[in-house]
Amino acid sequence: MIYVWVTWYAMRRYAAYRIGALSEAVTNTVFGFLRAYILIALWQARPALGGYDVADAVTFCFLTQALIGPVQIFGGMELTERIRTGDVAIDLYRPVDLQGWWLADDLGRAAFALAFRSGPPLLTGLLVFHLSPPGPVTWAAFAVAVALAMLVGFGVRYVAAMCVFWLHDDRGVQALSLVAAMFFSGLLLPLVVFPGLLGVVADHLPWAALIQVPADVFLGKASYFGLHGTAGLLAAYGFQAFWAVVLLAAGRMLTVAARRKLVIHGG
């Protein structure tokens, strides 16, 4: 199938920038340490905040740093540049589905990022802070959550990218998307720290599915709609899947509309 080939090719393409990827891993790790100490200070003032203990908070830290790469929290897609220059017209006339193609490509990129960028921060964090990794069942559950997160991440960025078809300058959308992503994904602070209504809202936005949910799965604390344990885990998956479906569907509609716009208005 061509999509498998696209994914493979994307992985190889990104593999050429190994040094760049390791560079990014270094920065991710450093920031992991910085945030860890900050959270430790906060947890010393408020132990068991949001149901986490200190070890959870620090693990959360390094987990989220590790996920920055695969989920591409800081946004952006090569597609945006192609739309801006008009090259995307070529893509739309190909007999391959635009969204499918870019999804496959993005999965390849994410896979490479998982391999090269996620390892260092997570492993370093676990080692230095003497944290115990969870059992194999949890790792498996975590893998599923990460996969779903990658879908949601793609969904968000694809929708943002397609907006460029209608807006002349996408930088406003990108900036907005970046702010929302950083704030609501749990990257700044675990969403459990958010008080009251803000916390509730944040928990239900798509960005929570990107980092907060997989991290919670890893910590064994996944819970949604008041459910805990295995039911909570499934509810969390459901939450991620919900947003994945919604965003991909929105992306689909935008793709169709874009193609129509191109045909009618000639790009």
């Binding site: 560079s23 200070a41 003032a45 602070l189 720290v193």
Partner: protein, 261 residues
């Protein structure tokens, strides 16, 4: 020369006024996120690591302002690796201006200035609320620390650019020093563990951006137990670091000019 070039870039950017304003606002908001994080943390606890909210806001304001100023003037310097890779550094070497200035003024736009807004605003708002017995010396230390911090961050930007002469793809890693440095100085360094703070005092002197002087302003004891004069050492440290940065840049450029791309 810097001003002339920056002005020309600004004028070019001014042709898209809406975009310019949006970008500036966007930059301000992103910078403000860190502030939001601090605010959220203090919504949960009145004191963190023994520091009150106004004290941490003060640290955020001073560090943030120094960093934003350095970012305005030298923020694009770390694009050096990109230019080496694409061969565009050669075109700059043909012109009668230092390539550092050419790269630093690249794409100068109001977006850079947007970053100053939240930090300046916070500083102005928080200083009256600080529980500090103000003396002329303490009051003087505030602009001094901002100036020295600006110089230290500027030197770090230049150093991280110079490194890319040798490690061309190292750009992302240098962000750990520049953006990492800007981030960690928003918080009381005491939370980072003894060894780390020692490293930040003697190796990468980020402790002198705002931590050491602030200890004097707050009237607090130094966790490391360093003697009092250290509180005032920021300008000296800044000058030293700038010297090192200048040397590093020049030797990096010399290296590039003898080995090509």
């Amino acid at each position: 020369m810097y001003g002339l070039l920056a002005w020309t870039w600004l004028r070019a950017a001014a042709q898209y006024p809406v975009s310019m304003v949006l970008l500036a606002v966007g930059a301000a908001v992103v910078t403000g996120l860190d502030l939001a994080a601090i605010a959220l943390m203090f919504a949960r606890a009145p004191r963190i690591a023994g520091f009150t909210a106004p004290e941490v806001m003060f640290l955020y304001g001073t560090s943030g302002l120094s960093f934003a100023l350095a970012d305005v003037f030298l923020g694009t310097a770390d694009r050096l690796g990109q230019h080496v890779r694409q061969g565009t550094l050669d075109a700059m070497l043909v012109r009668p201006v230092s390539p550092l200035i050419q790269i630093a003024t690249e794409d100068f736009s109001p977006r850079r200035l947007g970053k100053l807004i939240p930090t300046l605003a916070v500083l102005i708002a928080v200083i009256p609320r600080l529980d500090v017995s103000w003396t002329p010396l303490r009051a003087l230390l505030v602009p001094v620390m901002i100036g020295a911090g600006f110089a230290i961050f500027s030197a770090l930007w230049v150093l991280t650019a110079a490194v890319q002469f040798v490690i061309i793809d190292g750009h992302q890693a240098t962000k750990a020093v520049t953006y990492g440095g800007g981030f960690l100085t928003q918080y009381p360094l005491g939370i980072f563990g003894r060894d780390f703070v020692r490293g930040l005092t003697f190796v990468i002197p980020l402790a002198f951006v705002n931590w050491e002087p602030s200890l004097y302003v707050f009237g607090r004891a130094d966790p490391l137990g360093l003697p009092t004069p250290v509180r005032f050492a920021s300008p000296v440290v800044a000058a030293l670091l700038c010297g090192i940065a200048a040397l590093a840049w020049r030797s990096g450029l010399r290296h590039y000019r003898s080995t090509g791309s």
